[in-house]
Symmetry: C2
Subunit: 512 residues, 2 copies
Amino acid sequence: MVTPIPRGLMDGLTDIVGDRLSTTPPDRTAYARDLWPRSQLDRLAGDPPERPLAVVWPTSVEEVAALVTLCARERVPIVPFGAGSGVCGGARAVPGGLVIDLKRLKRIRRIDRAAMVVEVEAGFMGERFERTLERHGLTLGHFPSSILCSTVGGWVAARSAGQCSSRYGKIEDMVVDLEVVTGDGRIRRTSQAGGGLDWNQLFIGSEGTLGLITAVTLRVHRQPEARAFRGWRMPTMAAGLDVMRQTMQAGLRPAVMRMYDPVDTLLVGSKDDGKSGGGQLGKLKAILAGTGQLDDLKQAATRRALAAPRLLNFAIRQLPETSLLVTVSEGSPGEARQTDEAIAEYALAAGALDLGERPGRAWMAHRYDVSYKQSKLYRSGCFVDTFEVATTWAGIEPLYDAVRRAVAAEVLVMAHFSHVYPGGCSIYFTFAGTARDPGRMRQRYLRTWREALDATVARGGAIAHHHGAGLSRRSHMVATHGEARRYFAALKAACDPAGILNPGKLFAEEAL
Amino acid sequence: MVTPIPRGLMDGLTDIVGDRLSTTPPDRTAYARDLWPRSQLDRLAGDPPERPLAVVWPTSVEEVAALVTLCARERVPIVPFGAGSGVCGGARAVPGGLVIDLKRLKRIRRIDRAAMVVEVEAGFMGERFERTLERHGLTLGHFPSSILCSTVGGWVAARSAGQCSSRYGKIEDMVVDLEVVTGDGRIRRTSQAGGGLDWNQLFIGSEGTLGLITAVTLRVHRQPEARAFRGWRMPTMAAGLDVMRQTMQAGLRPAVMRMYDPVDTLLVGSKDDGKSGGGQLGKLKAILAGTGQLDDLKQAATRRALAAPRLLNFAIRQLPETSLLVTVSEGSPGEARQTDEAIAEYALAAGALDLGERPGRAWMAHRYDVSYKQSKLYRSGCFVDTFEVATTWAGIEPLYDAVRRAVAAEVLVMAHFSHVYPGGCSIYFTFAGTARDPGRMRQRYLRTWREALDATVARGGAIAHHHGAGLSRRSHMVATHGEARRYFAALKAACDPAGILNPGKLFAEEAL
């Protein structure tokens, strides 16, 4: 059933964007959701996300401002849209709402080499942005695995962190100032102007609820002159975590340190060498490899195995504790070498086996693959999702165990440890499951998320590290942010008096 | 005239803090102001700051919460007070208000070496805090020149930056979470809990207007193993600025890089070697050295010279352009040496003369002296103040020139360049002036500030770098923060519904 768009709104939109507007069902379907797996499960269960009224493609901040002004007057909700690769539902359509796709705001306004800052419009695609900087000998140092399918504005809106955040920081550390269209249709510039609060921080991570980010000025760096790659076979996860901790607490700044838990190590290995072992482990490996190319036979096998997650998780616990640690050190040739050597010293002292450059180079070559893995497993009648949390070094293993225990009856779970800092790191869980039918799959999926979030909150972990909150964490936002919801409500009222900006995201409206 | 404290309020306060309360005139006078020079000039002009009703010394966050609850009910304004060394009037008393001195909240609650974080109460004195960390082999890396007379809470409230911010970041980069008592008397914990906004950033830099910071969890580092000191005589300021820019943009992380402009170089030199040159320069040197020990003769000479600021500033322009650049490199022995060597390469290429270790070591030995210079010049019937701004590398010399030109008719002005980052640095102006009588001195002082702020805003510079805003920048907060004042107003209403928290600081109440 197509909801007809009111005539007055249609005329108003056309006045602003001309024919850069669509109300066709395919466009409205395409823009009804981002890559939040829940939306996929909803669709499979015959309950697809409601579609927006229309999609518009403004090309300038002035057009965005005019659109917001119109929507505020007409009380039409707005969902800002970048590349749609968010995995938390932050860009899921709001019924009766307008999607503003910002991808045509794609100019680089300024490359200031003297100040080492670049001003770029929000819709600029991530990988193209980094490639453009590279041509100038520069880098942002921000490499989310979604870089091929995410925009600069999306990074800021969702408080993203890239694979090299240990060295370059998270996106919030990179922002110099922002251009934002607030809910009253005004174009604002925010900055840390000296004295008082840092207003940039009001919009970083706000996921379109307080304003539409239309341009970002970011700090950039010179391209590193050298890189050193390395892989280590750690005897235990604990040993690997300790090497990462020691490295960061020594004040070193590797670009990447990531360690795979035993299951994830198996998966990475299978991707890397293409070989499959025998027996129980071989079977598990085949299942896990099934997140890549799948034939019908493998699909059925995957589904059968995932139907018994307890058994599978039990099998996993029998795996040798061996964990793969991948490192990339960069900077001047001297710094890259010294960082690599310092890590080697810690790793060897912890009983690690040096695997040489290959695992590091292999990781680099596949660093953006993950974003495309999802759909294939869905074709097998299974679901898969990821859940990244963060905590202190002392809390990492307890949190890892707690989350795995919490979801063991529902899904197969594996994890890697990345985004390492002197104080702690993030845990990136991947879980996969199945059920008899799509409705039950969705129930299992939702139970898994609830259990995982409960376990994380109970352990004092941060319920997100770099994917944002969107709708996926909403149930636990009050538990984790507490009274800050009142500050959010106050800001929301100030920035978006008509309440039209991405309503219901981050916090449930009734929580405010 | 003593304002009697209302009986009900007095009883309420006594119920909470017992005899840790004073209404005596000396205490009320001592707590009427911080080290904002304007307050000193007001006093000299016979117009001293109004005193608070009373001063209280709570010892726990619960007592602070009870005090705030009482004051909210009784509509009594509160000024939170640390060590009182703020130079912007942020802790200047509010008429009819209560001063809450937080210095007895001085426990270190937790030193967590595994997570490399320390939780400390807000009233802990800065230098003692750093000394305590040192005993554990740790450092915060935060060394404001006020460290001997400032508290950890004050650093966070005023968004402070220390002398080594190039390496360790500013205080906002160090905060993990905060304990805050908001204006409704509730104890809140803020953090960046993962997903959504970073709530710490609401209180960092808020100078007591949104809440009283009672405890801070901070990231700490290991003590550096090695330090390399160096001084360079740069042929020109421009050459020195370029060496600083090149160093930071190469990704190096020196602990300190500071360059003195020709006048300030002269002053630093005179402190360092105790010798005085001859002729016009010798006279200038003696005047400048007058900010140190002064005999009557020198006092009179200083005052006479400062009475003709145009002439003095003209004389300064005749100084050779030579500028002293001081550097401290630290970290592992390898990193300290390499940073020092890389700087040497840039400096020698720029025609600098290597002055060896001595200037760096001398700076280190005197690094906290500056906080005590002020009063001596005041005894000569002169005033002195500092004004720190920041901008991009390309903007530094234009901003330096613009501010100097703007105030040349009023005061003698000198500056150093410090807090260097890849994108730019701060300029730390020191100005000194005099006038026939205290009333005219204050007028001249206020004109100087207005001219300096106007020039900074016109050039797009940040009107503060690490002193905060308090009252000293209030006239230009709207010009520089723009519509962000509306977000501030919204937060203020949410955090402080009774409007009792340090009213009038940061923004004028009528601006909100």
